[in-house]
Symmetry: C2
Subunit: 427 residues, 2 copies
């Protein structure tokens, strides 16, 4: 007998079916035992004659196979329930360190993560990663439609893209290698290899020692790079349309997940673009917030987002024209001290860094030297710029941060299935 | 003026346009200079009055922006050409270590890889990765339709999935960590976490010291895992339908790439399933090929594929029932010495390993001990099996191998943008 999914049961009223899943809850009365059975598509009330399970050990979260009759029952949530004919235990749950069938999972995040397989079964945890998968799917769908090619580049690399800090070191046979901080060099090289427009979805690594609610040491980066742009504004235009597509797809395809998580999807209209200098002045004028350096700190990001929301009715803001000394050597300069660069803030958090890159080899080598870097240390990269590299630029979106902000989570770890941080290497 | 792609030019006959791309070829006659311009969508002949470029330095593979008139020209390949009004050099190609505008790229593979950005521009190299991207896209499309959720699991892990051999070691702050050989434990855990069906597309790492035309030290694994299966045959059924979908999509969407590469897409009908024991007997009987151990060596894989093609008209064959001692500890045993496992051979090469996994914690721990492993060394994994793990299984397809076999490439490195092997860490 073929397994029927719980969400499909409404087509089987009055019929015999086989369903499978986890026992979400057990309520034993004298004459009858009620189970709530859960599979990946939903939950259903199952009515069991106690005689049927007299000699069967069952427990919450055990995996069972049940055959029975789908019977209308107006008092049940679904409008029908299952009258059990037979029940088989496929895997007995023997030990549950945390309880996951309540409305809220009121336990510390570290405990949630220690018991990830159980906590992911909770009604307010499980949907996070369905929304995340849909964000990725929509990212690909949009870029495929725009002529981008998905690429896969190595994560074991000879050096960093920004001069060697915050890298995880690795023994690669006789050589020393590192885990890639970003696919930056490779995606630029692939634009130059004739693909013009490429994207990559893959892990990136930052050996940052500090531990905050916004950082992971391994995360998923949604990276894109495109050739033949006029300026960094082409990239902001593209990202605006990209986010609009991603959010409308999530709204359309994850309605029940969003409802369970109490999340509202932002409307992406025109996103304001504010040069960093103006943003800093505005923060000082409006909130008395002073930044020592020409950059936004986490409080600055939150205040700026608040200002833009209140005054420009946008949950997003592009902060543009970062100073030369704050951006990596491959960033296209703008005048003597600025760059063709931007960050995107969403609900108070930076979720994207992007910009136009240098495409002229001589300018690139000069810029490296000004930053105290030696072009020879980046030979395979620099070399490509003598072979015809179009004007280009790109951006990267942190997948876990985007998920966190959309769903209103408190910590980016909640948006990573198995986070890696300063102290966590397991599960 | 908006850039027009070369493939779109047929809609602009008699009109002025702007096109951009790389100069594929230059032919200077006394009265006229002909350029072939190449962008990501195709090539076009461009007619330039030599006076127009008298003071402009141009060279093959330089990146240019050209404005001109699209004029019908029956003698040209496209049926039209571009009469140049102005030409601007965006990036001058100064140095070309290899020539990439011939029909064939007749240089050694190591040179191809050393100059990857140039070699990827070649007409018979560039399409490889468009086909690869389409394979990935179709893999996702099919599995999304089957209720699978795409997941992202960490590549920095505490240990190996098969007992610690062939791992790249890593310094993770104060701890020793490794690069994941496969997402095996995580995908199983996510089946148990209630997602039931998950897939992952990501890098995996094998610190294998030998160097063959079939091995990479970092490659992309197309992994899937599903719960509530009856046996490993459910997985072979799924993979058959999956491959059928992937191949028909590639045929549909990559017709010109396949033509350029001279590749034919296999028809996936029913795939024969042959227990390993029978396969070994058959090889001995038919070809006098004797295997010392109960496993297929590369020659055995080729001969078996040849036999199946000639006698069963299939380019694929599932080899099933591998002996217990040849499979990892998580494989579901079948009788005293066999397992619920399979490999898939395609045109003489193994492209998939899969099987049903153990879902009972006690059986899992017993099996580990029989293999000389200590369950305590896999605590986070073993622990999950006490919390209700459904019967499940999965498989993994090596993306580069699949690409290699479809396109008839000679070496799996040709199907990796930036391969990592025993001696190669760059570019």
């Amino acid at each position: 007998m073929r397994r029927v999914l719980i969400a499909e049961l409404n087509s089987y009223l009055g019929k015999e079916v086989r369903i499978s899943g986890w026992i979400h809850r057990i309520r034993r009365l004298s004459q009858v035992t009620f189970l709530i059975l859960r599979d990946r598509t939903g939950m259903i009330q199952v009515v069991v004659d106690p005689a049927l399970i007299e000699n069967t050990q069952i427990s919450t979260e055990s995996v069972v196979d049940i055959r029975g009759l789908v019977k209308p029952e107006p008092r049940s949530m679904a409008g029908y329930e299952l009258l059990t004919q037979s029940i088989e235990v496929l895997a007995l749950a023997e030990h549950l360190p945390i309880q996951i069938n309540g409305n809220e999972l009121n336990i510390p995040l570290e405990t949630v993560l220690d018991h990830r397989v159980l906590s992911l079964r909770h009604a307010k945890v499980n949907p996070i990663f369905k929304v995340q998968a849909e964000l990725v799917h929509a990212f690909q769908e949009f870029l495929n439609g725009e002529g981008f090619v998905q690429v896969f580049t190595p994560k074991i690399v000879l050096g960093g893209t920004e001069g060697g800090t915050e890298l995880f070191a690795l023994e690669y046979f006789e050589e020393k290698a590192y885990l890639a901080q970003s696919p930056q060099f490779y995606k630029e090289m692939l634009v130059g290899a004739g693909y013009e427009r490429v994207y990559e979805i893959g892990p990136v690594y930052r050996a940052e020692k500090h531990s905050t609610s916004r950082h992971l040491n391994e995360y998923v980066s949604l990276d894109l790079e495109m050739g033949f742009i006029q300026s960094e504004h082409d990239l902001m235009d593209l990202e605006t349309r990209l986010l609009r597509h991603m959010f409308s797809r999530v709204e359309e395809r994850c309605a029940s997940e969003l409802e369970r998580l109490g999340a509202t999807i932002p409307q992406v209209k025109t996103i304001p673009r504010l040069p960093l200098g103006e943003a800093l002045e505005l923060l000082e004028r409006q909130y008395g917030k002073i930044h020592e350096e020409a950059d936004l700190d986490p409080e600055g990001e939150r205040l700026l987002s608040q200002y833009v929301l209140e005054n420009m009715a946008s949950e997003f803001v592009f902060v543009t024209d970062y100073p030369w000394k704050k951006r990596p050597m491959y960033t296209m300069p703008k005048g003597p001290s600025s760059t063709c660069s931007f960050d995107l803030l969403f609900r108070g958090l930076e979720i994207t860094t992007g910009g136009q890159r240098i495409h002229d080899q001589h300018l690139l080598m000069d810029n490296m030297r000004k930053k105290g870097l030696e072009p020879g240390d980046f030979a395979a990269y620099v070399h490509c710029f003598a072979m015809g590299m179009p004007p280009h630029g790109g951006l990267a979106i942190g997948l876990e941060r985007l998920t966190t902000q959309i769903l209103g989570l408190r910590n980016v770890r909640e948006a990573s299935l198995f986070p890696r941080d300063r102290r966590r290497l397991t599960p």
